[in-house]
Structure formats: C-alpha cells, structure tokens
Symmetry: D4
Subunit: 250 residues, 8 copies
C-alpha cells in the first residue's frame, strides 16, 4: 500500500508516465501461469513463503508454481495435502525437496532454522488425530518455529494430559487437534494463558458428522482463549500459531 | 403380562366369563379423566410413582391427576416443570405438598427416606446449568436415593473438578449437566467406573444452538460410560440414575 | 486418586524424594508405545480391561497394545471394529484369541465367566440392526454378564415383541438397537422398569440420514428410562449395560 | 377440463364468439376480491367446499371470502386456525356459524350429515397433541365422515393403545397425531391394513426441534401404510382421510 | 385381535388349556428362520402378501423367506430393491419368478389380475425419476390394481402435464415421484380431488441434498391432498395408493 | 475506477500534490456521520440512489442519511423495512416523502417517471406473500420501471396463473415471491423466456422453516431461468429486475 | 398461448373440428421418444435451443434427443455434463459436434456468432472453480454472447481482482463462481451496477459442506445486485446472464 | 502446577502434614460463594483479571463476585453482557465502576494504561455489527492494549476498507466482526500478515440463520490467517487479540 505513494511520487517527478503508473498498480504483484496467478512478492507482503494447496492441483501445476516461486527468490515453498506423485516429480526435476509423509507436506528448498527459543505446543487427542496435528507441527517448523508435540492426550484420561502440563504452560501458542466431542481445547485452554488454535478433525463416526460436532463444540468453548479453524485444517492452525510465536522476538 | 395368565385361569375356572375377561384385559390398567388416561397400577409395574409433566397441563389437570393417583394408593407424586400456580392450587385444596423452586418440581405427599447408603452424584458445569442439575437431584431424592451435588465445575478450571474427585468416584451413578461445548461428561467419565448420564442444557448462545451442540458433543464422548438424554431433561437423567442406584441393595 | 496420599506419605517418610514423587505422579499410569499411550492400570481404576478401538489402528498397532496390556496383567482384552487381518496377526503371533464375526470383535485371552444370575437383554428391530446388537451383546459377555437376545422385533409387528415380554421384563438392563424411525426403545421402555440404553443404527435410507433420525427420535422418547449412545455404538451400550448389571451382586 | 370441450363446442355452434370463449376460458373460475381470488366453482371441481386458512387473514377478509362462497352456492365453509374474533364477526353479521374451540375451526353453514357407516379413526399420543388431532377430526366431520377418537394412547403405555384396537382395525382410514419421537404411526400401522396419515406435532422440547424429529421419524416408519403431512397440519390429514373414506360408498 | 376372543372361548370350552392358550397367543403369528421372523398369516391380517425388502438381505435369505411364504399359502411375493443375483438364485431353484429391471422388483408367483376398473395414476417429473415411479407402479400392479403412467411431465413444461390431465383426473389415487424442487405434487394436487402420495426422489445435485429439498417442499404443498413418504420410497407410495384403490369396490 | 486516471493526470500536471492525491483517493467517496459512512457519489457509480435499510437504524439515523444524500444531489431516496416512526419524523422535518405501508417502504423525494414501455411482472403465490411482492414492486417503480402485479396465483390452482399468462410472457424480467413449497418460480419460468428472480418468503409453518424450504426448492428449480435471493428480500429482487429492465432501452 | 386463439378461429371457421382442436391443443408441443418427451417448438417459445442435461442420460438417449431437435430445425444443441462417450457416439454417427472438455459441454451443430458488442464477464475465485466457470462461459457463448473471463481472482488477494476491474465494470451481466466462503460475488457486486449471478461451487473441505456454505453466504450478500443459482450450476448462471445480455440490442 | 513442587517440598521438610498438603492441593484455588466458585488466584495463573459473564447472573451475584475478586487483589474486573441494573447496584455500593453502554461492559476498578506502542485493529462490516465490535475493542483496552477502530467497512464498498488499509496493516492482531455473508475477514486477511480473529455476528435475516452463515463462511476463509470465535463473542475475540498483542513486548 505504501507503494502507492512511491508510484505517485514517480509520476509527479516525471520518471513514470500516467499510463505506466496505472499499469504498474494493476499488474505488478503476480505472474500469470495460465492456470494460476502466482504471487511472487507475497513473501515481502505476508512475511512468509507462498503456500501451495496441493490437493486440487496436478503434479505439473504444483511443480510449475513451486519453480516460479523459487526462481523469484523464495528459499522455501511448502506444498500441503501433497500427493506422493507431486513430490516424486519435483525431485525427478532436480529440485531439493523433502516429504513429510504423515503430515502430507512436501517442503521444497530448506526449512529455515528457528532463531527464537520460544516454541509452539501441538496437542492431539487420539491416534487418529495425528495427521492433522502433524500438518500443524510441520507447518510451524517450516515457518521457522520450534515445536513440542503432546499427542494421544484425550480428556477421558485427564492424567495423561496433566503429565505434559509443563510443555503446555510454557508455549507461546498452542494448537489442539481433536475430533469426536472436541473437548480438549477447553481443558488445555484452562491450563495456559496463551492463544489456543483449535482444529476439529473429521475423526469419529455417527453423530460426529465428519468433524462438525467437534467444530461446534470448540466454537462454544468455555475457555476464552480458544479460536477455531476449519475441520482438518492443520496447516491454518500451524500458520496462525507461527504468526503469534514470531512476535516473541520483535 | 403375568396378569394375562391369571385372567386366563379365572376364565378356565369359570369365575370370569369370556366377555368379562376380554373387557378386563383391555380396560383395567387406567382411569380415564377425559383429558388423560391415568395409569393407576403403574407403581407396581414400573416400580415408582407416576410422574406428571406439569408444563403442558393446566393447574386443574395436574391436580386431578395427582389426586387420582394419591386416591389409588400412591404415597408420593412428583410434578415436573411445575408452574407456581399449580402448586398453589394443590395446597389450597388441602393436599400435602412441597415446592422445590429451582428444580421447578412440586412434590405431593412425602418423599420416601433413602434406605441405602449408596448415593448418586450430580455434577454441573456452570451456574446457569443449576436448574437442570437440581431437577435431576430432586428427582433422584423423590425416588428414594441419596444425592451429592458438585456444582460449578467446568472443564476450563479442571482443578475445581478434581477437588471433588472423591464424591465423583464413590457414586453408584453420576448425572452431568452441561451446556456450551458439553465436555464435562467426558472428563467425569474418565474419573469413575459407573454409568454417567449426560444432560445437555440449553445454556449458551450463538453456535450452542440451544443445547444441540452440547447434545452432539456428548453423543461423541470418548468415555465409554456416557449415555445421553434430551436437552434440559434433568428429570430423565435423575430417574435413570435412581434406577441404577436401586440395584445397589438387591 | 487415593494414590496421591500414598505418594505424599512416602515423601514424608523419606522413602521417596520430592523429584521422584513428582515424576511418579505424572508418568506412572501409562506405557508410551510411540503411537499410543497404553493405560496399564486402568483395570484397577475402571473395573474392566482396556478396550482397543480397532477401526483406526493397523493390525500391528492393535497387536502391540493388546500385548502390552496382557503383559501387564490383563486377562482379557477386547478389540472392537476389528478387521479380520488384525485377528489373523494376533493368532499368528501365538496369542489366544477368538473372533466374533458378526459383532466384529476380537477377544484376546479368555472371556470371564458370568458369576451372577442376573442378565442383560439385547433387543433389535430388524435384520440389518443385528451387527450393532451383536456388538453390544458380545461386549456385555466379555464384561462378565449373561445376555439374552431378542432380535427382529420391530414395532410394526408389535406381537413379535410382546411374545418376548418375559425376557424384557426380567433383565437388569436393556440395550435396544434400532434404525429407521427409532421407535423401539420407547415401546420397550414402557414394558420394563430398568434402564434402557438405546443405540441408533445407520440402517435405513433417504430421510433416515444414516441414523440421525433414529438418534433424534430416541432422544425424545416418551419413556423416562431411555438414554442414548452414538449411532452404531453397540460397544458403548453393552459396556454401560454391563456396569449396571454388575451392581446386582454388590 | 371437460369444460374446455363444452366451450369449444359452443364456439363451433356459433353460440359463443372466439373472443368470448377465450375470455371465458381464462376468467371464469374465480371472483377477485382484491386481496384474494375466490374459487367459486371449486366445489364441483374438488368435491368439497373451499377451505379458508384463517391464520393469515384479518377477520374482515375471512368474512368476505366466506360470504362470497356461501353466496355462490356453498352449504358449508370451514375456516381453519380461526381466531375467535373472526368467528365473532361472522356471527355478528348474522351468518350461521359454529366454533370448535379446541380444533380452532369455525364452521359457517351446516355440517353435512354423514351418510356412510364407514368411519375414520383419529389417534393421538398425548394430551398436548389433542388440538391437532381435533383439527383432523372436525375437518373429517365437516367433510361428511364419521369419526372415532382414540386419544392419549402413547407407545410407552402400549396396553392403552391395544385397548382400542377394535376402533383402529375397523376404520376406513386412520389419522395419527404425535410429537416427541413420533413412534405411534408405526405401531398403529402394524395393527391395521388401511392408509395411516401421520401428523407430526410440535409437542416436545429440546431435540424435538418443534416437530422436526417426529416428522423425520414418521418418514422412516417401518410400516408400509404410513404417509406424512406437515407439522401440526391436522386439517390436511383429516382432509386426505375423508377423501379415502368417501370411496367407501362409490 | 378377534382371535383373542376365539382363543378365550376355546379355553372356556376346555378345548384348550391355559398354558396352550398363552403359548398360542404369543408364538403363532410367525416362523423363526434364525435371521428373520416370517409373518405367515400376514396376508389375512394385512390384506396383502408379505413384502421382502431385498436390499439388506443376501440372495439366500430372500429366497428362504420367499419360500416360507409361498409354502404357507401366499400366491405372490414381491422382493423390492432386489439384486439381480437374488432373482437368478430364485429362478435357479425352480420357483416361478419375474424380474422388473427398472423397478428393481422381483415377483415370485403370479401377479393377481386386476378385478376393478378403477386405476391408479403414477406421475413422474423427469427421466431420472422413472425407477422410483416404476417401483410404485409395479407395486400397485402386484397388489392387484390397474395403473396408468404419466412420465416426464415436469412443471417447467406445464403443457406436457396438462396434456395428460384426463388420466390424472380420473384416477382413484395418484402417486407423484419428483426430485429437485419437488413442485409437481402441488400442481397435480390442484387438478384432481383424490389423495396424492408424493415420493421425493434423490434426483438432483447441490442443494437438492439427495432428496431432502424435494421432501421438505412436498411437506409444505399448498394442495391439501398431498401426503409424503420417504425419499425414493416408490414401494410405499404404490402400496398406499393400492390400499385406497381397493376401497373402490367395497 | 477511471477516477484513478484523472487523479494521476492531475498529479502529473502538477495541479494536485502527491499528498492531496493520496488523500483524495482514500477519503472522497463518502461522508462520515459517525454511525455510518454515507456514499454520496454512489448514484453515479451504481446508477441508482442510495438505499437505506431502515430496520436496523433509529428514525434519527435514517433521517440523517436521507438528508445527507438529498443534500448531495439525490432526487429520490428509498428507505426499506421502514418503521412508521421514521416516516413520521422525516415528514415532520419538512421533507417530501411518501409511505407505502404494505411494502414497508418510505420514499423521500419523487419517484422518477418510467420512460420505457417495457415492464416488470411481479407474481406472488398467496395473500401472505403480498408484503414481499409489494416491496419488490415498489422498489422497481422507484428505480423508474413499469410494474404489473399478478398476485394470489399459487400452483395448486394453475388456471389462476394461466389466466395472467399474457402479463407474464410479455415482461422484461419477472419477480416471483412464494413461500411454503416454493414451486411457483418453476412454473412461471416455464412460461417465459426472461430472467426470473425468485424470492422465498417466510410464509408457512412447520417444515417450511421460515422460508428455508422455499429457498432450497427454488435453488433446485428445473427451469433454467430462475435465480434466487434471500428470504423475504423483495427489495433485492425488485432491484435486480430493474437493472435487467433498464437494458431494454440501451 | 396466442396459438389458442388461432386454433379457436380455425374451429369457428370450420377448418378444424372440435375433436381435432382439442387434440391439437394437447399433443402438439412435443415428440415422445419413450424415455423422454422432446420439446420441438421450444426454440420459438423460449428463444433458445433445447438444452440436454447429459449427466442422467445414456449416450444413446442424448444422441436421440439431439437428433430429434436438429431434425426439427434447431441449429445448435448443447449437451451439459456430457460424458466423453456421448460426444464420441455423436461424432461417430456423422453429426457435427465439438467437445469443450473443461466445461464438460458437447456442442452439436454450430455456435451462433455473437452479433452484439456487449459482453458477459465470468469471474472465478480459484483454480478449482474453473470447470464451473467454464460451463457458464461456454453456455453464454452457445447462446450467442461475447464472454470475458477473469479467473483465479479470490478475495484474499484483492489486488488481483482490482487489476481486472475494467472487464468487470463494462459487462452487461456478470457470473461469479466461488466455493469456500463464497465472498467474491459481494466484492464484485460492489464494483459494477449490473446483475451478478452467483454460482456456489462444491470446492472446499470440512465446513464448506460441498458448497452449502458458499451458497448460504451468497444468499446473504450485502451487494443488492446478487442472485444465486444451485451449487455447481454453471449452465444456469450462463443461461440467465445470456438472457440479460440479449436485451442489450432489443 | 509448579506449586505442586512447593507443597511437596513443604511436606518433605515437615512444615506441612500430609493431610494439610492434600487439603491444600484440592481446596486452595477458589472461594465458594454458594452459587459460584470464584477463582481468586487466576490473575497469576492466567495473566489477567477474572471476567464475569453478566448475562446469566443477578446483579447481586455479579456484585458479590466482583467484590470477592477486588478484595483478593484484583485491580480491574470486567463484567460482560452487563445489565444496566448490575452497574447501578455496583456504583450504589460505593465501588468505582464505569459503564460502556454500546459494548455492554461494566468495568470495576481502573483500566490499566497501555504500556506498549503496538495496537489491535478492530474492523466491523456494518452499523449493526458495532456492539460486537465495541465489546472486542473495550475488552482489549481493559486488557491493557491500544485499539484502533475501523467501522462500517463492508466488502461491497471495498474502497471504504482500503481507505483504512494503513490501520489494518500496522496492527499486531486484528479483530473482524461481520454478519450476513461474513466475507470481510477474508479480505482483511489478504491485507495483513498478522492473526485475524473473526467474530460472526447475528446481524442479518432469512438465510443468515442468526449468524450461522457468517460463522461457516469464516471457517472456510481462503485467507490462512483467520480463526473464528462464537457468534457475537466480541469478548473472546478481544481477549485473544490482547494475548497476541502482549507478546509484542516480551
């Protein structure tokens, strides 16, 4: 936005014509690949690499976007919900990449080192919630954060959760992934005074309605620190948590 | 059902005609008041007094049913969701009655003494859940049970709940009333090895959908001991708990 | 919980250091297998063997958990929603196991003998509800209860149900599995004065919404003795019923 | 529709001009009152008097429509969901009318005598369902049918229902009004081999969702003879039942 | 039910002992095949052959039930939602059977001849609704009725529907199968003065919610003659229509 | 948007400073009244006067916005869902205004004359749908269109609708307001080859769910010309129809 | 409709008998293919070729309908949701046809040339929304309109959308296809003063409920120019937009 | 939790008996007022004063809790959804308090001064969303944060929002309150790289379903920075935002 001012000044100074200015204002921020418009200066604007949502793209499309971003200066591109084939194609094209199977994330380039001592805590309720929790954890790591995992800590065995209370209470932000009744964020929220990002998972059967029940329960959490993202959206939760963690050194 | 045999024997013995037997089989079990058919031998069959659902009846109707039951041998009749006017009318007619305001229950006759040492534990999440919890507690008392109350013990302050763990762990059955995210029965269910009757309450706002969210969450409880009754149905929960408690002396 | 006191006493007596006590309080109740934390003293605390939910675990994971439990003193472990492969693996590893096909339950070790004369009655509405009803029945048997089955007894043929009225009326607790309109628990609830655990099944089509209609209907039962568990949750219903039945000998 | 032929013949015979015929085809079937178009030859076409839905009309509007119909040859007009004021206005205008309070129906003119011996049976589950059941019963009476009422016959007390089995089994059509779990039509449908028109009522609380649960349950009835009308639509049920009953003498 | 009287008389006369009578009352009406209880005297009681819901049964189960019924005096048994394999098995066992492919109905034995001149009209909105409409039509034929089909007559081409107005207006009962917006029953209901049984179909996409939208629309029909059965329940609609048609000769 | 260019040119020409330009770009398009930001050059941009949604504003707020608009060159301002008090206040302040009671619209200033011969047809199903239909009709008139009304033309009396077929078939755009089953737009859509804007109304009871059923039915219309606006949104429908009609003279 | 007059005049003149006239009125407008009634004079009545919904038809059925239409004078027939096999069959039968793969549309005959300079703008939010957007665009082209596409212009990157503001602001009508939160139509609606036809897409996961969330959001658009069609109904949106565009030259 | 260690050390040192320690562990953290258990050391544990949810409490109850907190060392207590009477009672009791009418918040004691330069931005869509937005803003102020308000900035007038882009882009966290289609958080999320807490409001009508549509839309936001709290939960959003802002100085 402050760019507007710069462009206007260039117009005033005569170093840019009106037509050029108008064109610049409209066309600069992306590269058009035909099937997608890639935001090449998003890193500057959003403070993080572009993220590619791999589920709805062909391996070729994901590759093309990743390459465009790397060619424009990105050091690390993350492909979420990434099919194995996409990773295989990227590697076969000679690009440096890593595949986190459980999290279904392909990391192109190098994960930045975490430079803060603060960390994010990722808590999950049951074994089945782990893929979503892992997606959140890996996302936060790619965003340059430290992560501590507290998995298989459901509320019906409250002592398991309490045994990890220290990890929970020391975090800068907490991600909680849970399906079924979605009660875990409320209990976790009562233990710590930092934001809790709740991720309902589609784990369960019958009246779990593929995560809707957990989502609604989390929306009604009696803990004031809980906000909620979409069902199975581990990426979003990890991304928001990393934004909060980043403030720790500013 | 075993009555069928008695009647058939009377027919065989000639002490009852076929026509009389047929009439008896069909008409005996209730008294018809015009607006309702009162089940006068239900105490024998169901092991408890008839309960009157006061919300949908005029004071006069509730009075008439209560009187019919007392006249047919009941010692205690409970009127749930009882309007104040109904209680006033019953007392003004010279019947012995007691009004439990918060539970909205009118007790006609005398509450039987609890003869067992076992007890039911009634747990509630927040202040607003208390009327429903009280309805459950009073119902169980009218059914002849001891009751211990653990109120205002929401999951976001888990230490409050744990401070009453003894009461929870020693009960013969537990009723848990909670609104909002409905997480409490899962946590309670993890502490005790007796049936937990969960009552969703209509407490909350927005996405609580007047108790539906709590109901769905409770249906998905990760604790295997939890079953659920209708929203705000404190009576049903207390009634079922009292049935379980009764087995303690058989 | 009373363990807290024992540990505190050990600290006072000097037989345990503060650090050891804190560690003990937090880490004792489970064995961490990496993918799951197994609750090895749950039998004591919950009065029953650990139950493994087989649907979301690989055969290897189920095996590992079952072995850990048996190694820690369990005599019988039940795996619900158990894939055939899991059973095959367990047997091939030399463990004693039995597979109840219709109930989809694998029983590792030996089912305890029922020592009470009381029994649980399991009622189902139609042929399609039988797997869920069987899951409830086998669960109760594994928990050490006697079980009587009354199957294919839908409400549109009320005489079929009445022909088994004796079994229904003599039970210590009743499980009713029904799909479609979910009316059966109300009719059964009117015949007996014991708790009825209703299990909606996903049987039906169109507006049955895979069990939701039956679930809602059961929540609204006009019989005061009915509480409800999740759709197709035969295990939960059988487990709760067995808890009620167990009180019969105390 | 056969009118089309008559008009075409009149055109061919020259007794009607083309313009007149076109006008006739389009404008004949109703009188326009400004706020409503009254169907004055509906009695012929539909075999019954026009019915006025009183709930959404002012007393003056209902009066005007009723008068137009009576002036055009109707002998009996029924106003459903009729406010008391509408009845008072009609009577004060000197028209012959009767008010059935519980059914909320005002009958203008005279109810036709039932000329068949066949009858419709109207069954209701609880006291609160009676207004809807009465609406169905009075509607059928206004349509010239005999009606037998079986009220307060809920499924949790199955013996009450069976005591009236003769009335149910001898009817030409059955209307069943029930709220809460909506199980009654299934049980009734199993007793008789005539069409059962089920009317869900808005009776209940919590998860009854103002009749939606009963509606869905009825849609899933395991009895093949059950069809369903809108929540609280006693009129529609009575009207359809009377159509079926009418065939009895054709 | 009148059987009760006969049995009681036999007891009085000494031709039947009390124990025999009780046994008779409870066990007579069905044959237990293990997986199902077959109602062998249903034809008498319900006025029609037993119908087998083929979708949830193995070919062997359907065969066994059909054979039991035929052996007990049925002349025609209908298997709905019948898999091809079931039909093949039945034929290979030497039983007389016919397969109506589009209606997915297998008819064992012989369809009775229609002896009345009255007929049922089956109307469908679009090509995709035809299987459901055919199921209704064949059911009515198996029940001994004449059927007229008016297919592909959606409301957006109202002239197509009007071109068949004579068939619609002359029927004894009408079945209307429609998906999408479910408007057809209202228009048809305005043309005729007989009961209209509406069958929502799961035809459509997006906000049709697999028939729910059509179901709800039909429940709200402005035509008073419309009642509704479950989504895709062509059988139920045809069955109810045949019951209404049967009254035409009584 | 083309304004951007003008401002850039002014900057280049030196007639505007960079700071002034930036300020202009951001602040020009509205006047801030504290409780609302009034869009004073919207008439130019959107081709119509600002419309005030009166339901959520105090009379004083509506007055202030209307005055600001009139003072900035509007000739006609429409206040929808306008409380009577708001109109009274506006008139008492000496402004020229007209109140259309049934449509709940207050018109400040003068309705522009329709200068085209084309017209919009507004169709409604029942008497209760008239307020919504009127809101659409008056909106279109305020937008300078001719309007023809076809009211009380429900699908169950198809001949009423056909009698006005000429008005429907000659319109430039059609608005259809209907509640209950929402079938009318499909029938109307089959008669004309112009866009049909369907407005579901909250008219009905029970399973009409305050317009949701009509909304869903309309979304599934088998007529390709139907699009839908929010429940009871007569204004939106009239506004869109007027936009379509306006193209008739371009 | 005016045909009615012509037929009546023919009757009056004696050039057509009454029976012929009645037959003509009823049977003329379609050809019956057995599985479908093809509307051969729809082009005249609706101003466009018949459209075949290919998804629910066999290749043979689509071919037969297309041929009937072409034989009766159509110059272009569009088959939507067209399986590849249908196209292959049509071409192998020697008919001229074109297959637009992404839009899943088969065009039989020749697309008419656009004769107006006006155009329709089709906007889509993300890559996954493109098939629906293409369906709308191709439909409009087949209907004889010019189309401009603005794809991959989601609201979270508002600058991408603004860069195409000129295309949006100059259109005669706009189609907006978007899934997930469905926010795009509101933003687009704020930029232009022409009708916006919003198409929710089934793109998304979790709480997108296969397009329902987008549909509901679009119904609630704060832009008055937005109306909505069914989920993924690109055809309908393109068809309505083309109707609006056509007025531009009238 | 670290308290556990201190108490254990005291036991070891003999300065506390086992019984005292057990009592201390369980009873210390709250004061029991009968109707509520007040958490007097929450400030330490949670980093903020206790917040009282005023809507479900009598003025006397709110007063008692506030007084208990102030007496135990709190400097500022906030009562949300506070009825005017509660504020009046508190002031009449001589306590220092301030009432923010639009936000419906009563502040007892003194709002702490903001000591950081960072600020939270609170954005709202329309006039009707202001109470919720104000609740968020005042909450953040009470928590010691600076707040900038950007109100009445709906997406249909995107230029209004862009005019405040600087405020949005410079914030440490953003709260966005919006009803209707709930699109605003997505657009705002595209402008800034900080967490956006979205609050759906119950503003709207018809298919807004009292905020549910906005809630679902926000859950599906295409901006990765958006998480969601319950409908109308301005307090929660402001509280979470303040937690994020607080990290700015650590």
């Amino acid at each position: 936005m402050t760019d507007t001012k710069h462009i206007l000044e260039a117009v005033r100074d005569g170093s840019m014509s009106v037509e050029e200015a108008e064109l610049e204002l409209r066309s600069r921020p992306f590269v058009d690949l035909g099937f997608a418009r890639v935001d090449t200066n998003r890193r500057t604007r959003q403070g993080a690499s572009e993220v590619i949502y791999g589920a709805s793209k062909t391996p070729e499309q994901s590759l093309a976007i990743a390459r465009t971003l790397m060619d424009n200066g990105s050091e690390c591109v993350m492909i979420t919900r990434c099919p194995r084939e996409t990773y295989d194609l990227i590697v076969s094209e000679g690009m440096e990449a890593e595949f986190r199977k459980e999290a279904r994330i392909c990391i192109v380039g190098r994960i930045p080192k975490a430079e803060r001592r603060s960390y994010i805590c990722v808590v999950s309720a049951g074994t089945s919630d782990m893929p979503v929790a892992e997606e959140a954890a890996v996302t936060a790591e790619v965003m340059g954060c430290n992560v501590r995992r507290v998995f298989d800590a459901g509320v019906a065995g409250i002592h398991r959760l309490l045994s990890d209370a220290d990890s929970i209470m020391g975090a800068s932000a907490i991600v909680v992934a849970a399906g079924m009744e979605g009660a875990l964020p409320s209990v976790v929220g009562g233990l710590a005074d930092v934001p809790v990002i709740a991720v309902p998972t589609s784990v369960g059967y019958g009246a779990s309605f593929e995560g809707l029940t957990a989502l609604l329960a989390m929306m009604n959490s009696c803990a004031s620190t809980v906000s909620v993202v979409n069902i199975d959206n581990g990426f979003g939760a990890g991304y928001i948590a990393s934004m909060i963690d980043r403030r720790s050194i500013q």
